[in-house]
């Protein structure tokens, strides 16, 4: 998955570290990490769009489409969203990561 400007706020290492605890073939691990990445980023995009005024959605999505890793995207969000979107992203990321970690633990044989 391509790098995005959100990666440093989401930080999936604690999940990949948890996966490393288990005996998991590399292809299955890659598949599971891919699912987790996509799910987490989708969830966070929903959070961002819920907070970003609708008139900026098109602009944001166009910029994101062009350069998903561009740190200016976060600056853009901070400028256009009144609440502390960086904190909100961290909180929501933590929440969904906790859910995913719980699923991993429940899948232990």
């Amino acid at each position: 998955m391509a790098k995005t400007f959100l990666d440093h706020l989401i930080i999936l290492e604690e999940i990949t570290s948890e996966l490393d605890v288990y005996d998991l073939p590399s292809d299955e691990r890659e598949e599971i990490v891919g699912l987790i990445n996509h799910t987490t980023h989708q969830h966070i995009l929903n959070v961002i769009l819920n907070h970003l005024p609708k008139e900026h959605h098109e602009n944001f999505l166009t910029k994101y489409q062009a350069a998903p890793h561009d740190p200016e995207l976060l600056a853009f969000l901070k400028k256009e969203i009144k609440s502390d979107i960086e904190s909100e992203i961290r909180i929501q990321a933590k929440k969904i990561k906790a859910e995913i970690l719980s699923e991993i633990k429940k899948s232990k044989r």
Binding site: Y22, Q42, L45, E103, R109
Partner: protein
């Protein structure tokens, strides 16, 4: 020392469901995101798009991919319900309810039951009637709106506080007869909270069409002969917004403690979704 084993099949299945529900929620709240799916950059970072075949999803077992159309699902459910349900709407037996729960899970991959956490409506098979839109916040004005607020008041204290989630809750809302529950008055504070925005699955027993809705009002009055109500969108999807605007439905609680199942029409098996690599 060897590492502990993981049931990767179970985990993958859970993650697939979470991925699908997250995407469904995103597109339900922000349908304009869909047009960006064609972009390889955005698709690669966030969403799997039509035609995109990543190693991740290419590895899904063929058995996890459903080829069944929503029409087939509806028809299958309607046929099965005919075998289980009595000729007229009436309270069901525990065995009938259990059979229906199993059928709903088999066909739609959803956990829905007539009794949840000890709570049970007076009937799980009854007539649903059309309701108007509810006022979401003070000063809210839309066409076909009920004059008063719902039983739980406004959805939000102001227009600014109305979130997309609350918009969905009003759009797909259901009405149930909490006021006639035998323990409603004695356990009011508990039951009021328990029923507020409780997710229910409503199935048109004649067509098999099913929709997930959120309880947002109490009623209808017993003298109407109806047992439930549905928002204009709920009734339209169920095909019950014509003629007398009422019809027989099964209404079960959705067991969704993590709030993963989106409100709205149910058109695929949640545990066996159609072609995950396609949008």
């Amino acid at each position: 020392m060897s590492k502990p084993a993981l049931n990767s099949e179970k985990l993958r299945s859970k993650l697939k469901l979470k991925h699908l529900t997250t995407r469904t929620t995103l597109l339900a709240h922000h349908p304009h995101v869909a047009k960006f799916l064609a972009s390889s950059a955005l698709a690669g970072t966030l969403l799997l798009t039509p035609g995109q075949s990543t190693p991740t999803f290419a590895a899904l077992p063929a058995s996890s991919i459903s080829q069944t159309s929503s029409f087939d699902l509806h028809q299958h459910l309607a046929d099965r319900l005919k075998e289980i349900l009595p000729g007229q709407v009436q309270p069901l037996t525990a065995d009938q309810e259990s059979q229906i729960s199993q059928t709903l899970h088999d066909i739609y991959g959803i956990h829905a039951t007539a009794q949840l956490e000890g709570n049970h409506l007076n009937t799980s098979y009854g007539l649903i009637g059309a309701e108007q839109h509810l006022m979401r916040y003070p000063g809210d004005v839309v066409a076909n709106m009920a004059p008063g607020r719902g039983a739980w008041g406004y959805f939000a204290p102001s227009k600014e506080a109305l979130t997309p989630d609350l918009v969905e809750k009003e759009k797909y809302y259901a009405v149930v007869q909490t006021l006639y529950l035998p323990d409603w008055t004695t356990r009011l504070s508990y039951l009021r909270d328990w029923y507020k925005f409780r997710k229910v699955l409503i199935v048109n027993t004649q067509t098999g069409k099913a929709i997930v809705a959120s309880i947002a009002d109490s009623g209808p009055a017993a003298w109407t002969g109806k047992h439930y109500g549905g928002s204009p969108e709920v009734m339209a999807y169920l095909g019950l917004n014509v003629g007398k605007q009422k019809g027989p439905v099964v209404l079960f609680f959705v067991d969704d403690p993590a709030d993963q199942i989106p409100l709205g029409p149910l058109e695929y098996n949640l545990e066996n979704p159609p072609l995950l690599t396609h949008g």
